[in-house]
């Protein structure tokens, strides 16, 4: 399992005076699920946007399949087979499901100047992709603005899975999903790994992260606290690493206290 596909060396990213990332070293292998953990604002989204070509590193180097790359736009990354589900989903509410699905990657038929968007085939692919996520769409021409939050999230995931040939990046993909859709997403993540894709997964839910992940990288206030193999850490340690760890214990204790006092008054 050392089929290295992505590598960051001492990557920093600044927004004006804000240090969003500092000296990040990270490797992602093909055929692994790499989980990014960290508190709100730790820099997870910034890190995956750097991988996806949205942000250029302010400092440091980005290697893709052993070759140093500087993506000038997400299009470059997509051309290399890196597909991303962004935290804000990157969907256009006024456009239809199919048009959103193929946005920027349209399939065409016809010849030369008469090339057209292949609507029928696109509709079918979009419907199939969504069905695999457990979402049955009534009409592929439905406008995305009218979909529920979870349906939208599934659309963004289905789209990334369809176009991610080498690397799949998922930024909190299960945040709005139902139980069944969540398990579908995790199943698809496992399938992608089996096909030899690298999957980078961000989640705040240890019950989603732990079963599918192979390795964990922990971010804290823009810095990497290291990468751990699953065999090296327990679920409880992962929970703690998610910065919420200690607070969760405290919270649980407090909640237990509430319950006890409730019982006492009842």
């Amino acid at each position: 399992m050392s089929d290295k596909i992505l590598e960051l060396k001492k990557v920093s990213r600044y927004f004006g005076s804000v240090i969003a990332l500092e000296d990040i070293d990270m490797e992602v292998n093909a055929g692994e699920v790499h989980c990014l953990l960290g508190d709100n604002g730790a820099g997870k989204s910034t890190l995956i946007k750097t991988l996806a070509g949205v942000h250029k590193p302010s400092k440091g180097e980005y290697f893709y399949e052993g070759e140093r790359v500087e993506f000038s736009s997400p299009r470059d990354a997509l051309d290399r087979g890196i597909a991303t589900v962004y935290q804000d989903l990157a969907l256009v509410p006024l456009m239809s499901i199919t048009r959103n699905f193929f946005m920027g990657r349209e399939i065409t038929r016809g010849w030369g100047p008469f090339k057209q968007f292949d609507q029928d085939r696109a509709d079918q692919i979009a419907l199939d992709g969504l069905a695999e996520m457990g979402i049955k769409v009534r009409d592929p021409q439905q406008v995305v603005g009218t979909m529920s939050g979870g349906e939208r999230q599934c659309l963004a995931i289905a789209r990334a899975i369809h176009f991610g040939a080498r690397v799949l990046i998922l930024d909190e993909p299960t945040a709005a999903l139902g139980v069944k859709q969540t398990s579908n997403v995790l199943r698809v993540v496992a399938q992608a790994r089996a096909k030899g894709l690298a999957v980078i997964l961000i989640t705040h839910n240890v019950h989603h992260a732990y079963p599918v992940a192979d390795r964990f990288t922990l971010l804290n206030r823009g810095r990497s606290m290291g990468t751990f193999l699953k065999s090296e850490v327990t679920r409880e340690q992962v929970l703690e690493m998610m910065a919420g760890g200690e607070e969760m214990e405290k919270l649980e204790a407090e909640l237990a206290e509430f319950t006890r006092s409730d019982e006492a008054t009842a």
Binding site: L94, F102, G104, E106, T108, K115, G145, T146
Partner: protein
């Protein structure tokens, strides 16, 4: 850490069939952007058929008359529509009409260029100005409203200054004579279908002058351009990947960019297309009238934007229709000429325009809410 509770309405969506409601055809029509302008056009026609039906407005030359007025506005409205869908404005359209016209007339009349070279020259200049405006907008991130407002003044000023500098006047005439026999000039200033109208006149279906020439000698190229541009622009918007990029760029540029749409190129291209449309109109006018005037196209950018908005486009971008914009331009032409034919004081035209604009914007807003399911 409670990740799992939000928005569960979709959980049972797997079995969706029982959740599909038949949507009436009326309802489907209601969510088309063209609806407002098409029904507006019908109303306007009905009104003037009643008010001015016997005034000659609907005689062949009357029809030609308002068709040409509509075509003039329609051509630039198509450009403005594509640009508005891509999320931007161009207030320099009117100035571009004057500028491009002058750039055809000056080389032809004062530098002895063949007309076709002058036309290509004007198109090249206009496209590079469109490119410049677009590049400034995407590079600086400034609102296109401001950037193109600057070009409204720059281009108008340039037009007058250059005209004075090279010709010492602000109206340059005589182009028609120079355009004699020039094929490219004929593509803008000519007419087609003359034989058809001659035949119609010969068999008595079309009125003719005493010497036998029909009252209409052909369809002016400006109308052909209008239909051609509308067809191509509509096809590109609705059927090609570039259309998808244009809608996506205007709908949410950041989202579009993140999934690989080259949004900057799309915007720059849309600005260039707008400049192209303005130049088509300029060329048609110069070759039709035989002259270029420095004040031509004044305030046309606003009329174009009104037509586009009446046509159902959202000022915020991402939604609209070229066909709708063409119907908006048709309403314009019919009302403008209808007011003239029916003898209504033409000051009422402006009142009508403003009223139409307001109505259209409110209507579109309601439509948008319907389309996006009242969410947001």
């Amino acid at each position: 850490m409670s990740v799992n509770h939000a928005q569960q309405s979709d959980a049972e969506a797997t079995n969706a069939d029982e959740r599909v409601r038949e949507v009436s055809i009326l309802n489907r029509l209601l969510s088309r952007p063209e609806l407002g302008s098409v029904s507006g056009a019908v109303l306007v026609f009905l009104f003037f058929i009643i008010v001015a039906g016997d005034s000659g407005m609907f005689s062949p030359d009357g029809v030609l008359n308002w068709s040409m007025v509509s075509a003039q506005l329609g051509i630039i409205a198509i450009g403005a529509c594509v640009l508005m869908i891509a999320g931007e404005f161009d207030l320099s359209i009117g100035s571009m009409i004057g500028f491009a016209g002058m750039m055809i007339a000056i080389p032809t009349m004062y530098w002895d260029w063949p007309v076709w070279t002058s036309i290509i020259f004007a198109f090249a200049l206009a496209l590079s100005i469109g490119f410049t405006i677009g590049t400034i907008v995407v590079r600086t991130g400034l609102p296109s409203f401001i950037v193109s407002l600057a070009f409204l003044f720059i281009l108008r000023g340039l037009t007058i200054a250059l005209a004075i500098m090279f010709t010492n006047r602000t109206i340059v005439g005589g182009v028609r004579g120079a355009a004699e026999g020039d094929l490219l000039a004929a593509a803008f200033g000519g007419e087609i279908g003359g034989w058809l109208f001659q035949w119609l006149a010969d068999v008595g279906w079309l009125q003719s002058f005493p010497d036998g020439t029909p009252i209409i000698t052909g369809i002016p190229m400006i109308i052909i351009w209008w239909f051609l541009l509308a067809t191509i622009a509509s096809w590109v918007l609705l059927r090609t990947k570039y259309g998808n990029w244009i809608f996506a760029t205007g709908g949410d540029a950041k989202a579009a960019k993140n999934v690989g749409v080259p949004t900057n190129k799309v915007k720059i291209g849309a600005f260039m297309f707008t400049a192209f449309c303005a130049t088509v109109l300029a060329a048609c006018q110069v070759l039709e009238f035989g002259s270029a005037a420095a004040d031509r196209g004044l305030l046309k950018e606003f009329e174009a934007i009104i037509a586009v908005v009446i046509g159902g486009a959202l000022l915020t971008g991402g939604y609209g229709s070229v066909i709708g914009a063409c119907f908006g331009a048709l309403i314009f032409g019919v009302v403008q000429m209808g007011i003239y034919f029916s003898g209504i004081d033409s000051d009422w035209f402006r009142v009508f325009l403003g009223g139409m604009l307001l109505l259209a914007v409110m209507f579109n807003n309601a439509i948008r809410r319907r389309v996006t399911g009242a969410a947001q």
